[in-house]
């Protein structure tokens, strides 16, 4: 289900080789004999749990580690937005200053020129990256916008993980009518390209809000993004659960008389943990990207709030004269998504020994 934007790599089933450490380390080399993995873990080697092993592999992956560092720095920067706003720029993220002036290395300049063009980067404490047409400080908005982007992405990811897992578990374990209904919903959402679905729903809800939530609340894009990607996790989890429920240890639990809920939560859920873990970074990166697409198309974050998407979009009007208006928030966005993707690849490789060895071959 891929489209123009975020969609294509919003198809995690294609992108992520779903890890299952239980499968062992077969086929470690091109042309290896089809013998039953003679060197599988556990033969005389000290027994190591799959998670510990994955952790060890991840620690060895310098690239993933350095991008994890980058991601932490970016998040920390955005979290420090109020500090920057108060102590350095001394202006709020939504404070207009159309008629004001700013002192740039000795001479005073209009924040917004008489014909409405905002000032470019001053590289001083005020208007470090310039202003927008309302005279708001773009550096402050960049950090606050980052908070918004990360918040939407993070909360949407939590929604996806929670409901995607729940739906996958119920659908795969209970089967029958529950499965039929849940699958119908998942297929329905799945069959629309995420960006198009998001833009239509986003525009509609931004128009009238839903219930107590106002149209310009950032919860609307959060809910939309969460909702759109639920099937992208729900479907693979369902497949995983269908496989797991046929396994002997689940049969054993059933025979002993453990309730379906207990089986789902204590037998099946832990075994889907590695799949879920692999999907967390993929979902986070896609949620942040989709937010940017929606905001770019006016269906995401609404004024006066900013996000990286809206900042890039606003800056496009000045792309010929002051490209930094778009490219600075763009760089923040790309670095964030890139670092999540690289870490995600690292996590996937660490959890899937086959993939890891393959990369080394």
């Amino acid at each position: 289900m891929a489209v123009d934007p975020a969609s294509r790599h919003a198809d995690p089933s294609q992108d992520a080789a779903v890890a299952s450490p239980a499968e062992g380390a077969a086929g470690f080399l091109i042309g290896e004999a089809p013998e039953k993995d003679p060197w599988a873990e556990g033969q005389h080697a000290p027994a190591i749990g799959p998670w510990k092993l994955a952790g060890r592999r991840l620690r060895r992956n310098k690239l993933a580690l350095s991008f994890l560092g980058l991601f932490i720095v970016l998040v920390a920067l955005c979290l420090l937005a109020p500090v920057y706003s108060h102590s350095i720029a001394q202006i709020g993220p939504n404070t207009n200053n159309v008629t004001g002036t700013v002192n740039v290395r000795g001479h005073s300049e209009n924040v917004v020129s008489l014909d409405g063009v905002p000032i470019g980067p001053t590289f001083t404490r005020h208007y470090l990256f310039g202003a927008d047409t309302n005279g708001r400080d773009l550096a402050v908005r960049l950090l606050y916008g980052g908070r918004t982007s990360l918040l939407i992405g993070g909360v949407a990811t939590l929604i996806i993980i929670f409901f995607g897992t729940l739906v996958g578990l119920l659908s795969g374990y209970l089967r029958g009518p529950v499965d039929a209904v849940l699958r119908w919903f998942m297929e329905l959402i799945w069959s629309f390209p995420p960006v198009i679905l998001g833009v239509v729903v986003g525009t509609a809800l931004a128009f009238g809000g839903i219930g107590p939530i106002k149209g310009n609340s950032i919860f609307i894009p959060t809910l939309i993004i969460g909702g759109i990607y639920i099937p992208y996790l729900g479907k693979p989890i369902r497949g995983e659960v269908l496989r797991l429920r046929e396994m002997d240890f689940v049969d054993a639990a059933r025979v002993v008389g453990i309730s379906p809920w207990r089986i789902m939560l204590s037998e099946i859920l832990p075994n889907t943990a590695s799949t879920i873990t692999v999907f967390v970074p993929i979902m986070l990166a896609n949620a942040i990207l989709l937010e940017a697409y929606l905001s770019f198309l006016g269906a995401g974050v609404q004024a006066p709030n900013a996000s990286w998407g809206t900042l890039i979009s606003d800056g496009l009007n000045y792309i010929s004269t002051t490209p930094t208006f778009s490219l600075i928030p763009g760089a923040m966005l790309v670095l964030t998504v890139l670092s999540i993707n690289v870490v995600g690849d690292g996590v996937r490789d660490a959890l899937d020994p086959r993939a890891q060895v393959r990369i080394k071959t």
């Binding site: 290896e32 329905l188 833009v199 198309l297 006016g298 490209p323 790309v334 998504v337 071959t361």
Partner: protein, 316 residues
Amino acid sequence: MARFIVRRTISAIALLLATSFLVFSFFELIPNYNPARAIAGRNANQTTVDQVAKKFDLDKPFYVQYVHTMKLIFTGQVIDYQNDLNVVDQFKTRFPVTLSLVVPAAMIWLVVSILLGSISALRVGRLTDRLVMVGAIVGVSVPIFLLAALLLYLFAYKLTWFPNTGYTHFGDSPTQWAYHLILPWISIAVLSIGFYSRVLRSNLLDTVNQDYVRTARAKGLSQRRVFRRYVLRNSLMPIVTLFGLDFALLLGGAALVTETVFNLPGIGQFEASAIGNLDVPPILVGAIFTAFFVVLFSAITDVLYAVLDPRVRLTG
């Protein structure tokens, strides 16, 4: 084959009706949305709003509106709310633009990603592989509109190698046509190249470990022949499905971001503005149009699959 076509056509019609009905009912469900008021404008008085509602049948019950709108669509008479223009006519004039954007872009991304994916898999673990994969992961991390902005700034404004925006018909001047479209082509292609080359590489590395590839090597075939005839061929099959769907969606207007940034008067740009104004008729036509291509290309990929893999049988 005849059976396949008949069954596919029936399910296609069902899908088109279901899609249109879903989209139509969705707009009925939007809270506080009154299309008549939206069309009439913020300052219109009640009489104007009523007139507008009458004109577009918005005062009738929901199902009557739906049947009426569908009738208008299939007789080619449906008009949009914003500009009072015939939607089907607009689709007809805009489709060549979308076609010009999507078809060459798809060729570029397909060829480049097959090349990059193959090179990466053949040089797995070495520097080339790493560079290609880093490029690919950057490619899938950059939103299209940002890449478009960057390309516009660098090549249109700074270096002035290419025009900033706009479109020239192929019939008027093929060189101008290509000249205007190069940046949009790249914008669309990069994301897909990143994605497809990653998928292809991983498919290739799986296929290389297949027993039949080992047999092919044991037969004394050249590396090149083993790769082309056995490894690449089998790895491309999942790509076919992926490509069919992506291509169909883009033709149906999913290239809206690129068309908007580069101001290309295609279907996507039209759809983007219709969605922004919650203009139901063009959105409905767009949904039907996209569904049509999705069905068409899924049938084509199924046929292709059956040709490529003798184990696959065509089923409706």
